[in-house]
Symmetry: D2
Subunit: 378 residues, 4 copies
């Protein structure tokens, strides 16, 4: 059985994994990947059951990463798994990505790339040295209208950017935060598991990524004001960052996990000197284009009036909504083009540089806030 | 290679088929199907190329339906393709479905089920006789909030239904309709290819299906007013149907393909004596619940407050939009449950009865309109 | 005390009158009217108290219409009340308007103009003969974005109209309709007070008016399907009318007072061969302009890009919502221009012709429905 | 001519004044005020023409404030103007208000109350000493759904407030800001006329007022980051303020006049530990109530389910939008109740304390920003 498909391995993402479902569906969407093997979980027995249920080759279902790498490297390059999606807990991203890249595999890594900016920079060097593909799944960049926003700004359609305002508001931590014992049920509130930050590292980082992704600007320094809500809660559950870009543009990133009742309200507004663009994730098919002295315009996916990159990011006619799985599918598509050496649009998938930038942002915001809300360079 | 997956065959839906992409992605979404073989197009060579690119078994890539059936029946039941998705042009649905059901295959069939109600009834009898599963892909019934609407109405949450208003407005035929020669570019405007109706058969039928799906009511008679816009255009491109249900409820179905600028605006409002529910396909994650003397409520997918069936129709946390592919995926999931003999919710997939009802509706509307807008029984 | 203001009289509309508040505020909005006298209610004592509280001249607070006319006619023309707003129960509109016009007064009349088309036509003749101004308060035509819709259609901005769909859905009768004794609390459900129709005469007529107002088309015939919901309820509480215009355009008018939970959902969509316009009264500052192959546009009041008539119908900068009182105020402004003999835009206020058209529509719909849903000419 | 109406005087607000139209219409809305006299502009001749056109008493049309006070004080209290609306340029608010209060007049004052917090505190003392009514027209507090928000929060319906986010984004300065000479056309960009701040003083102050008005919390300190966009532009055209309330709640106020394409986008979100409330001025009839584990609720004006204060702030049935003039009308109504010594709801009109708080906020934000974004107490 031969095909043109890219041979994909998974580390983590087995049957009881929510994020695994997203990645497996997304990988299938463009019909460019073939799930070929992996370590589908930390329990080898369950991992094998997962593989069997799906008719996967049990000889390529491995007990751990070492045996995965060893096993695959003994195979001829034409059969070997080419790219590995890392869907393990956050603290394993860095060691596993490092080991896989060193062994020559392309990597698709869940966010956050690492637990620190220093680790992220190490991976960046390694990727440059090994010339492998590294995709970081900042899923929201896969939405067609986010890509349209990026293209329109790059194309000067709103002029010079003069103000940016991004938010990521969720409320899901509210039910757990008010009593110390309830917090223990939430691994993200545990510094051992979550790393240095809860809110900024989990959601603020997405808003930051959207800012740099859509505008092409580079955040130079931040002033952060994080909130743990209670003194005996060690991690941030809410926070705001003022920022300045290298180009002198001011902006705001607002993040919260205690915005009670909010589901997944990530939104961005970019104001230029000739117009503005606004997008909200919960209505992802709508892009608002504000113009001076002209009626507001609304762009929607699937239409010929969109930029090429936008049009390539939709599989279906106008008016048929695509959602989050489709956005992730677009990122997998971009990675596939890179893996196969095909030309691809800038922004087709977030990469290792996005990972480095994101970790620097989170570290700077926390440092700023701890120092009493002062400006900190990224 | 063995797995628990259902062995799926495709008739049509090869690489250059838009609807094929939707079905292949949808079938993969729940990880319950394995694309195993088929007739991927009328050109055998292209069909084989399609199979090869995807690493499919070329020995199960067939030249035509006869050889497909013959080939599969020679295999042991444990390896044989179990269900076949029919994605061919409309006029082939009836003969192919008949042949496949007779040969013992389950069928997933694109809409419209047939070109006439009489044919649909034949298939209905056959399905009952053969006890096979027959799913008709009225995709919009796969949206979680449409299913929530159905459950809430069945559960009496808006009381006794007293008015129904459904619409399906598109504008895509407008650029072609005004000049006779341009119309030839649109196969749907060709009675040879499209059958007895363009607008009602293509989109009105979806609105009709939503009415019966969500309310559980049965339309008894209709008064139709169809519009061809030009005398030299033989098929309807717009039409309205007044209706009465067996229960005496009045309603309206409005359909158009010349609603210039509309993308895919299918919407339904159901008014009961205690409240109402409203839904629009282009914002599929929002269900409006109007209540007397109480604030308007908005239901969204993924939340624990939804009914079981709704919750099972979402793969992800609240605030992460799912779209049309996910809706189709839900229908494939329902069909998988039926094929495997597992319990499944009423409404898990539209079936042969929906097909019969839809064709009766289209025929009655056309008959009514031709007779000068008179009442016609379904 | 002299001023340029138009001397306004009220018949009805005293302190406990809801519609009186609307008219009094609206008349003040443009600062062109001076409330000078009237018959503020059927109870003379209360009427005088109302006048006193507002510092009105008690000598011009009359006991009834006869003494009003007599009293005012004795005054010199330069002091005489010039225009009278008729805010009495529906059945009084016709006799009072007739009497006032005959006496030379301009009239601003609440809708419906009369209880029958024949009466409306009599008023039409009388107005033509007497050359007085007659304004009918179809308030929704006063909204800036409705006026923009009219101007854009007249200006050809959506091309030739090919389909119209208007609705007026309310739910306020639902709590009363299900028990015969509760219905007695609602005067509109009483044929003695309400005339021949409840739903069509009260709300359907507004939707009809919007259709002719915005498109400039003339409805030629209708097929009506009205619903009383219960056999022992004599008046319609819901109804749909299919229509054809003189120009051959098809359309639908949908009306209901049992659309449970709806507040005041009047909306219109007009589709042309080059684009479409959509408007909803509950979000009156938004006008959707659908265009083929271009992004959707949203027009808002107060902007320089609007047509002159639209701009003149707003008192304030963009982004500051105006509402129903402001819409009525615009109609009063238009009437003031006519009364003073100033130039005014077509559509500046609905007039006697709108009244005739509306009554013909209501009569035709009821006749059609009673005859079993057949086509009836207006 | 006698009536129960409150005798109102205007300083400024003559015929060519935009804000004058708003105040005159608003004062009329509740039929509690009678415009009796004033200084309708700095040009006495124009002022008299304005009065004559409206049939106002020319003997009470004064040349300046001194003669206004002198003239009115010579009249008996029963005829004397009782309350004066100050609609003059900002720098005149303080001296005129002081003079009028000292003379015993009630005052309705346009925002900003003064040019500094110190002046505002002087007025506060004076009002307390003289026991006069002082209303400050923060118009947005007059919207019914803003009042509903205040009542719901006070009533504990979203629990303890834990995060507040308010914005006021406009784009109208964008066309003028990029060239120094164009700026001269905008008086708000002139420190001589505008005072210490453009953006914060003009729009940020409204957002601040909404925060304190709706939550009942008191902002204790701010960290401001203002932007002049160009070094040679002396005044802020954009700015963000982080804040802490006395109760320890964190929040953000975001303001801009260079948010290109925004019309008048003032919005607020308040998150409590049991739910949240969100409101946007451009859709003023909609109040979002986010609840944990329950469907989102939308409150609308005119409904019986609203709090008393909300219901009293609407003049019309549900579904009939009221707008900005109506909001201002509600503030005039509240002031009328206070002037007449009637009971009135807390929040019925913003007062002198709101003025003091607002000026302290603006001063603190500017001081903070100038000092390099440090925390400053109000």
């Amino acid at each position: 059985m031969h095909s043109d498909k890219i041979r994909l391995g998974l580390i983590g993402g087995g049957s009881n994994s929510f994020i695994g479902v997203v990645h497996r569906i997304a990988a299938n969407m463009g019909e460019r990947y073939q799930l070929t093997g992996g370590v589908f979980g930390s329990d080898y027995q369950l991992s094998k059951e997962f593989a069997q249920q799906r008719g996967l080759d049990l000889s390529r279902t491995y007990a751990d990463l070492d045996s995965f790498i060893q096993g695959e490297l003994t195979r001829p390059a034409s059969e070997r798994i080419e790219v590995v999606s890392i869907l393990t807990p956050n603290f394993l991203h860095y060691p596993m990505a490092t080991q896989l890249i060193n062994a020559g595999f392309h990597v698709i890594c869940e966010k956050p790339i690492t637990l620190s900016a220093a680790e992220a920079e190490e991976i960046e060097s390694l990727v440059q040295q090994k010339q492998t593909v590294f995709a970081l799944t900042h899923t929201y960049t896969g939405y067609p209208m986010v890509r349209q926003m990026r293209e329109m700004i790059a194309n000067g359609e709103i002029g010079k950017v003069q103000k940016v305002d991004a938010q990521y508001y969720q409320g899901w931590i509210n039910p757990f935060i008010h009593e110390a014992e309830k917090r223990t049920a939430v691994w993200r509130l545990n510094p051992q598991k979550s790393g240095l930050s809860c809110c900024m590292g989990d959601v603020g980082i997405h808003a930051f990524n959207l800012v740099e992704y859509t505008t092409g600007l580079e955040v130079e320094r931040v002033l952060g004001d994080i909130d743990t809500l209670y003194d005996n809660n060690p991690l941030d559950v809410d926070g705001t960052a003022l920022f300045r870009t290298r180009e002198g543009v001011r902006g705001i990133i607002r993040a919260s996990q205690i915005a009670t009742g909010e589901e997944n309200n990530i939104a961005i507004a970019v104001y230029g000197d000739r117009g503005a663009l606004k997008w909200e994730q919960e209505s992802p098919t709508v892009l608002y284009h504000l113009r001076e002295d002209k009626p507001l315009q609304i762009y929607k996916p699937g239409n010929a009036y969109n930029h090429d990159f936008t049009r390539q990011s939709t599989k279906i006619a106008p008016g048929h909504p695509e959602g989050l799985f489709d956005a992730m599918g677009n990122i997998y598509q971009g990675a596939a083009q890179a893996i196969r050496g095909e030309p691809y649009c800038g922004g087709a998938f977030p990469g290792v540089k996005d990972g480095v930038r994101g970790m620097k942002f989170v570290e700077a915001v926390l440092q700023s806030s701890r120092a009493g809300q002062v400006w900190v360079e990224l």
